[in-house]
Amino acid sequence: MTMTEQPDAELPIQQLESVVIRFAGDSGDGMQITGNQFTRTSALVGNDLATLPDFPAEIRAPVGTRAGVSGFQLQFSSKDIHTPGDAPDVLVAMNPAALAVNLKTLKPGGIVVVNTGNFKDADLRKAKLESNPLEDGTLDGYRVIAIDINERVAEALEDSPLTAKEKLRCKNFYTLGVMYWVYSRPLEPTENWLREKFARKPDIAEANIAALRAGYNAGDIHQLFHGHYEVPKTDALPAGTYRNIMGNQAVAMGMAVGAKLAGLTPVLGSYPITPASTVLEELASYKRFGVVTIQAEDEIAAICIAIGASFAGALGMTSTSGPGMALKTEAMGLAVSAELPLVIVDIQRAGPSTGMPTKVEQSDLLQSIFGRNGDTPIPVVAASCPADCFEMAIEACRIAVQYMTPVIFLSDNFIANGSEPWRLPDVADLEPFPATFATNPEGHLTYQRDERGARPWVRPGTPGMEFRLGGLEKDVTGNISYDPANHQKMTDERHAKVAGIADSIPTPKVAGAQEGDLLVVGWGSTGGIITQAVEDARAQGQPVGHLQLRHLWPLPHGLDEIFGRFKRILVPEMNMGQMARVLRSEMPTHDFVSYTKVTGQPFLTSEIQAKIKSLLEN
């Protein structure tokens, strides 16, 4: 498509229900920022949305290569949506590699916006392309919007004092401007964000703003598109105050708020690891909320710092991902034996070993439930979407404090970096669970259990309550004991305590069909995708139910009865069938169908839909 200048033309506005855009470029092109800005603005104009950042593990893979492609997909909608969308309607490709990697996901007839400035021979070679996809027919069947963004940015920033290289770095904001015009988004939120972010470098802020406006105006005056679109704000969301939230941000907030609800100082020990580092970064910025964070020397020190803090009467916390979980294992055993509250956050990534650090997987489930030496039960909870991280992180704090136990909170890469609008809870509705400390030495025993099976917590510094605690087996007094009957008793009690947590958690509700041929059981980040797939299946008249587990260990009461109402139970998960295995061993009488995917990418709604359909037909 050539650009014809028709400044006077009145371009029609067309209304759309939902749009999926994928921004793709080199990892140095700022695609994550572009995507996040589009997300933020869409949230502010009142769309429902869901995002899927997809970036390489290398911070700077060789420029222009396929390995270095960074993507950000989002779906924004005027209705209630649950996923970032299977296939984009629009692909923004900043270079040939980004086009090559992402074109296959684009909808037939979809729009491709390409930066022709980066389609020179050298660029094609870096992307390992033999011919130019803009010319060789690769893009037949798509609507191609070709813009030399490099050139346009250089023109727009002619008067800027920045160097040519710095100017070129503004190209993502030009692109964003174009997309803002196409989807009728306001520029102000991004302009304000830029001014704030570059408060000390106003030249950079102004150049990016100029690029953004140039892109926006290009849409308007050059008639790049046949017209522009509007995705009206959603009325599907309940009334309230909203903000856009990313999963790891919500985890951090939940942990800080959970500690407040317990009346305790949160002390986080953590070691940077992808994709959990942002939990540490976020909590480190909560100093005025009284959050103590320590970047430890390693994963083991991180959890040990948290355990030391809990021993001293604070709420110890640690955040990590799979490899870090492996390293923390021995210390988790200490927290189980010492019966101290502790919140362990595992933002799962694809494994084994270093695996694919920036890709999603749910394969730490069995490790979380069972992966320790000795009989060492630890409760496990999981968040189903970015906003749910807030609630489930608070829930992890509650269980830890009320039951004097470490708790593992599972999230994953999809939730951690994904974002969605979050209806802010009313602070008055957040139920406190104040921690209590034993202070009376009269008749006090270190391991005398309360009705929940929890031992009393004593804060060092309390006169007359001095006691010794450790990882050696002990009896009710806390003193070391090798007595065989005592070890049996203590092991039984530790198990009973964790099993008893089920008494404090609600039975999950089934969405959709309450009985019948098929129930889909999900946990973690598959929640949104399953919701969408089941809603679509039901819209087509298929009798399917959906149950999302948020408490994974112990499992909630009532599942056996619910499962009994369905002929078959489909368990989709991004691992080799770990939850299916747990359910089969806990409730062996039901017909569980495991459906697994370990590509490092979330399920597509269409994949779950197809599975539902095939199970209902056979």
Binding site: I305, G308, A309, F311, L424, G461, P463, G470, I480
Partner: protein, 332 residues
């Protein structure tokens, strides 16, 4: 319990002490209990944190708060205790295997952070609890069950290790010298920041009297030199010998020519030089205070940052946290 005068007995727990008869640990715990009583310590504010090993049973025998943790990790646990409650008086008890082998990383990092705890490292140059394997401080050639032809790895010098980790207080003492031990405990306790004491400790079962050649009472005055801050570096039965640094070397000189020892210099180089004297059989093995300097204390800084954030931005409530980003309203 503050107010009432406590005795050594008040710091003894009701648990039977289970070290081997004759073990150097008995003398150390006795000195510790006596020191705490003499210094007016409050058992309720005192916490002993240990790792794993013979020495790490120490907390069970102290009538204070105590946490017997996992192998090598006591410094990290102690850091957490201090981060949560800087008011607590925290002692870490560890051994050469616990702190320099499996826990080497944590020891290095607590020292560089300068958390205000006291670390007592019992060095018997052997693994006692696992029944006598060589340790990271055993000299090359140590023949034990896992090294039937002699160990081939070069040992750590704990004092050099601590200095290399930028420790602000480093000392060495001997289990059998109760007076010196008490003096080191006091100096360590009074130090603000991480105080590291290597205690030469006699494992009578697996490495009996390994230090006898220089630390035995009969030879100690000639074979060891007590580094006393602000005093001339003299030694010998009659106090007639002294040490003097000449460039990068240390020489034995008549007592009146000895250098005055200063463990508080900006540079840790002289301390390091003294820590390496052990390697030269013609020179005495130093003990006493190798280094003592003031620097920022980790947990104080940690909480000062929080106080500053509160002072600058106001104490944060849940409402502020949740509404911290850009928000919008959806009307019903």
């Amino acid at each position: 319990m503050s107010g009432a005068t406590l005795t050594k007995k008040d710091f003894q727990s009701d648990q039977d002490v289970r070290w081997c008869p004759g073990c150097g640990d008995y003398a150390i715990i006795a000195a510790m209990q006596k020191y705490l009583a003499d210094s007016g310590a409050d058992p309720a504010k005192t916490v002993f944190v240990s790792g794993i090993g013979c020495s790490s049973r120490f907390p069970y025998y102290m009538n204070t708060y105590g946490f017997h943790t996992i192998h090598g990790r006591a410094p990290a646990v102690a850091t957490g205790v201090k981060a949560a409650n800087p008011e607590l008086d925290v002692w870490v008890v560890t051994g050469d295997g616990d702190s320099l082998s499996i826990g080497g990383n944590h020891l290095a990092h607590i020292l560089r952070r300068n958390v205000n705890v006291n670390i007592l490292m019992f060095n018997n140059e052997i693994y006692g609890l696992t029944k006598g394997q060589y340790s990271p401080t055993s000299p090359v050639g140590t023949r034990k069950k896992t090294t039937p032809m002699g160990s081939i790895d070069r040992p750590f010098n704990p004092v050099s290790f601590a200095l290399g980790s930028n420790a602000t207080f480093v000392a060495r003492t001997i289990d059998s010298d109760a007076k010196h031990l008490a003096r080191m405990l006091k100096a360590a306790h009074e130090h603000q920041g991480t105080a590291f004491i290597e205690i030469l400790q006699n494992c009578v079962i697996f490495n009996k009297d390994y230090y006898g050649g220089f630390a035995d009472k009969k030879v100690r005055s000639d074979k060891m030199i007590d580094l006393r801050p602000g005093e001339p570096m003299t030694f010998g039965k009659d106090g007639d010998k002294g040490l003097k640094s000449k460039g990068w070397h240390v020489e034995i000189v008549p007592a009146d020519e000895a250098d005055v020892w200063n463990p508080g210099l900006k540079s840790a180089a002289p301390s390091f030089l003294m820590s390496q004297l052990d390697d030269d059989p013609s020179l005495p093995t130093p003990y006493g205070i190798f280094r003592s300097v003031r620097d920022a204390v980790y947990e104080n800084e940690l909480h000062q940052q929080i106080e500053k954030a509160v002072a600058d931005q106001g104490a944060g409530e849940i409402q502020d946290l949740l509404h911290g980003g850009a928000t919008w309203e959806i009307e019903g």
